[in-house]
């Protein structure tokens, strides 16, 4: 891998005591955001890049913790000295979004009104709410305008939303493996995942914290389903095929095929640390995302409000957010005469491709960022 890791990093916490009025009508009277930064903010404060996370991501984007050398950030391969998000040049900010379960205020945080975890009482958060909260973090850090806002999947939707809601504060938006809104099929997958959680007897209407339990089975199923949709058929075929763990069929329901073993392992791992209420909130934020709703579905009119330059990238094997969905964004930007480049990257990892290290993919991001004037 060219370049280096940012090395040991520390997370920080910021408290915001101004109420945040949410799209759902709810209000968060005060909240915490945990975040990490890499590199150095320049004197003009013009070199900051915000990296937004996807469904299960968080603020630990790059590097590792001094006392946890194996806890490596989720997008470490693209950030660091000599990497596309070059910390010798840029100041990178990653945070955990509201409603998350990695330290920012979310359903498992104590509700100041009751002293008990928010649970089901945590208000529904939308992508635009995250962007408003991120803008307050930018204020705190003294960043008037981002050199770039960047993300993959749900993270790319936040970058898109930034460009629409705060056009003066985003000079470049890098939107990877995203879509301007979810399709019926996307929403359907999310709903099956939610149903798995909501019907788990340990869910207790979202207040499972009080029962000292967690809807592990539902969350595990939700993740197994989601995981299938993040991979490509070809990749699963290559990786697992019809391989059996033992050489013969056992004619039972225990793990037999390697793909079952893999999915169950992924489900167990995820259910072990992730919060089910956060999963519900994140999938709803995905479902609700549709900035063109403000313009009666006319995405061209919506993107007319943006002023940023754009890099849009999709992956040939991504069937969750196909290249055609990215091209909808490209078309709307072209219709408004915006500066936009679009790369359709041939990678075999389905939707998850955006997290992979690939010389061409990273070369495209690197080339784009090198041309950004600070």
């Amino acid at each position: 891998m060219p370049g280096q890791s940012v090395g040991a990093v520390q997370s920080q916490r910021a408290n915001f005591d101004q109420p945040l009025h949410l799209r759902s009508g709810g209000v968060l009277p005060a909240y915490d955001l945990v975040y990490e930064t890499y590199g150095t903010l320049n004197a003009a404060k013009s070199n900051a890049i915000l990296v937004c996370h996807a469904l299960s991501g968080h603020h630990h984007v790059a590097g590792h913790y001094a006392d946890q050398p194996d806890n490596i950030g989720w997008w470490d391969n693209i950030i660091g000295p000599g990497r596309p998000l070059d910390t010798d040049r840029f100041f990178i900010v990653g945070l955990n979004n509201l409603g998350g379960c990695h330290g920012s205020t979310g359903p498992s945080s104590p509700n100041p009104a009751t002293g008990k975890p928010w649970g089901a009482g945590f208000p529904m958060v939308a992508v635009i709410d995250w962007v408003h909260a991120q803008a307050r973090l930018a204020d705190l850090l003294g960043i008037d305008s981002w050199a770039a806002v960047m993300g993959g999947s749900l993270g790319g939707m936040q970058a898109l939303r930034w460009s629409i809601t705060y056009p003066e504060r985003v000079r470049n938006a890098i939107v990877i493996a995203a879509a301007p809104k979810l399709s019926a099929q996307n929403i359907a997958f999310n709903d099956v995942a939610r149903q798995a959680i909501l019907t788990d007897p340990d869910f207790h209407g979202g207040n499972y914290y009080e029962f000292d339990t967690r809807p592990v089975r539902g969350l595990r199923l939700a993740r197994m389903l989601g995981h299938i949709t993040y991979l490509s058929d070809d990749q699963m075929g290559e990786k697992f095929g019809r391989e059996l763990r033992n050489s013969a069929f056992s004619f039972g329901f225990d793990v037999e095929f390697e793909v079952e073993s893999y999915l169950r392992y992924q489900g167990d791992k995820f259910a072990g640390y992730f919060d089910a209420n956060t999963y519900l909130l994140m999938t709803k934020a995905l479902d609700y995302f549709d900035p063109s709703r403000e313009d009666n579905g006319d995405l061209n009119a919506t993107m007319a409000r943006s002023k940023a330059n754009f890099l849009i990238a999709s992956f040939t094997t991504d069937w969750r957010f196909t290249p055609a969905r990215s091209k909808e964004i490209v078309a709307a930007l072209l219709a408004n005469g915006r500066n936009v480049s679009y790369a359709e990257i041939d990678l075999n990892f389905g939707h998850d491709s955006f997290l992979m290290e690939d010389a061409h993919y990273h070369g495209v991001v690197d080339a784009y960022l090198r041309n950004i004037k600070l």
């Binding site: 072209l334 480049s341 679009y342 790369a343 495209v364 041309n371």
Partner: protein, 199 residues
């Protein structure tokens, strides 16, 4: 196909394009022509390119480039979004000849098309000598050529006539890049056309 600076058809194309115009370059390669037009004519440019390495090179050159396959049309572009749509030395590599010409004039007011003339006398002589032509404007061996359509100036003009396309201007160059005034279909190695259609 990668553009090289100093190509005589580039100068012709640049001459036809007004400052500030909106230009779409199909098969833009590394973006050299667009960069030239942006630097010298102040145009607003967008390129379309299929090849990964060229897309990367165009982004490095600071060009707006959209990765896509011309054979599948120009769906991401709105009707009449451009003043000029350029297809430089690429038409002979496209299977859907009529489709791409129609698409060019859907998204643009004017199409600028350059292509090698297969009836150029040296090409004809080469075939008479028993070998497929290889020249400055046809720089490939038969087995590695990206060209899938082989046609002449007269062939192209007949197609324009059939499709109702209007030829506003034509320039023909010999292999050295000098203008050819007479016997163009025989003496011309490369042709550049400006096309519009009736609206």
């Amino acid at each position: 196909m990668t553009h090289t600076l100093g190509r005589p058809d580039f100068e012709l194309i640049a001459h036809w394009i007004e400052p500030g115009h909106r230009v779409l370059d199909l098969g833009c390669g590394d973006g050299t022509l667009l960069k030239h037009l942006i630097d010298t004519r102040g145009v607003q440019g967008v390129g379309v390119e299929i090849d990964d390495a060229n897309v990367l090179a165009a982004i490095k050159n600071g060009i707006n480039v959209i990765q896509g396959n011309l054979e599948r049309g120009l769906d991401v572009f709105a009707d009449q979004a451009f003043d000029h749509v350029v297809l430089s030395r690429t038409l002979q590599t496209v299977r859907h000849t009529e489709g791409i010409l129609r698409e060019m004039l859907r998204v643009g007011c004017e199409a600028v098309v350059s292509f090698p003339n297969f009836a150029y006398w040296k090409n004809l002589r080469s075939v008479l000598d028993g070998r497929m032509p290889v020249s400055e404007d046809l720089p490939y061996q038969w087995y590695d050529s990206p060209n899938v359509r082989f046609f002449t100036l007269l062939d192209f003009e007949a197609l324009c006539d059939k499709m109702g396309l209007i030829i506003r201007e034509r320039s023909v160059l010999d292999e050295a890049g000098n203008p050819v005034e007479t016997e163009a279909n025989f003496l011309g190695s490369l042709a550049v056309y400006r096309l519009t259609c009736k609206r």
